[in-house]
């Protein structure tokens, strides 16, 4: 009589549809007699079923793991949709509106205030103008970013 190890191989092969009719008959016959191999066969079938039924992972909400090395910033959107935040024309218009708003607000305020305050607001206006190149830089960033995205997509 053949060793159970031989039949264990047949059991594995049968799961991959690799058994000839003869081997299949041989295995069936052995399984009738051998409880050990029956248990092996049942366990493997169950494992297969469980592997196929493993649930789809839910969107990851940081269950604590030992995989700290993998920590990556989370963002639910697909990667290729993450890049563009503000389209260039909107950014430009926003910057201009903000700049005008600041000038108007502080300019308007200063009309009713003392010279001191007026001097103060004028320095603020200067400051805003001094800041303007910075917002221009920001626009450039947005621009190059959206260009990047366009290149990637």
């Amino acid at each position: 009589m053949k060793e159970c190890e031989y039949f264990e191989r047949l059991i594995s092969d049968s799961m991959d549809d690799l058994l000839s009719a003869d081997s299949k008959a041989e295995l069936v016959e052995h399984l009738l007699d051998c409880e050990r191999c029956r248990h092996f066969e049942e366990t493997l079938s169950m494992q297969r079923q469980l592997l196929q039924d493993l649930p789809e992972p839910v969107p990851a909400e940081r269950h604590s793991t030992r995989m700290g090395d993998f920590s990556i910033e989370r963002d639910k959107r697909p990667l290729w949709k993450r890049r563009i935040s503000v389209p260039l024309p909107v950014a430009a218009v926003l910057s201009i509106v903000m700049l005008a708003g600041w000038l108007f607000a502080f300019g308007g305020l200063s009309v009713n205030k003392s010279d001191e305050l007026r001097r103060d607001t004028s320095t603020r206006a200067v400051e805003i103008i001094r800041l303007a190149p910075k917002s221009a830089v920001k626009i450039d960033n947005v621009k190059s970013d959206s260009l990047n995205s366009r290149r990637v997509i």
């Binding site: 494992q47 196929q52 493993l54 789809e56 992972p57 269950h63 995989m67 990556i72 697909p78």
Partner: protein
């Protein structure tokens, strides 16, 4: 390439962004399952899947596929997962269960995840390919560039190991 994938890829290359989303939706789930159970972390799995689709985006206009887009995506995701795992410290060889909630309240599924975590990366890769992704022996041999006999023998060893591990856990 499967017909729908082939069509959607062509539409995407012609400028239809929604076609890419369709490809994404069609393949995301099975890739996510593999990557999550392979790395032992669904957050990592998700990142690997996104990275995989980023790579696909970069292939616009130059994609050459031997068998199917599905296989291309799978191999890309698989390589990425294996690369990440290779970078991990050896100390942390055993992976934690991926699903730790009501979805996995069955004790057997929990046990199976523990067993999966005890396999080495190659073993877990092979058994997931066969049972979860349901690649045939022939397909696995082709994708992995090894003989069918090698796949067959290795699957037997893995199943036997899982059987023994399962006994120990019980």
């Amino acid at each position: 390439m499967e017909d729908r994938d082939r069509l959607d890829w062509r539409l995407f290359e012609e400028g239809d962004q929604t076609a890419f989303d369709r490809i994404f939706q069609r393949h995301r789930r099975h890739l996510l399952k593999y990557c999550s159970y392979m790395t032992g972390n669904s957050a990592v799995g998700e990142d690997v899947v996104q990275e995989t689709f980023m790579r696909l985006l970069e292939q616009k206009g130059s994609l050459t596929i031997r068998s199917s887009l599905k296989d291309w995506l799978f191999i890309c995701a698989r390589n990425h997962s294996l690369n990440l795992l290779a970078k991990r410290r050896r100390m942390e060889q055993s992976l934690p269960p991926v699903i730790n909630n009501d979805d996995c309240r069955s004790e057997m599924k929990w046990l199976l995840q523990e067993v999966l975590g005890k396999l080495n990366n190659d073993e877990r890769d092979l058994i997931l390919m066969r049972e979860q992704q349901q690649y045939s022996i022939i397909e696995m041999a082709t994708l992995l560039g090894i003989s069918r006999e090698a796949v067959r023998v290795r699957l037997f060893r893995i199943r036997k190991k899982m059987y023994e591990l399962g006994k120990r856990y019980r």
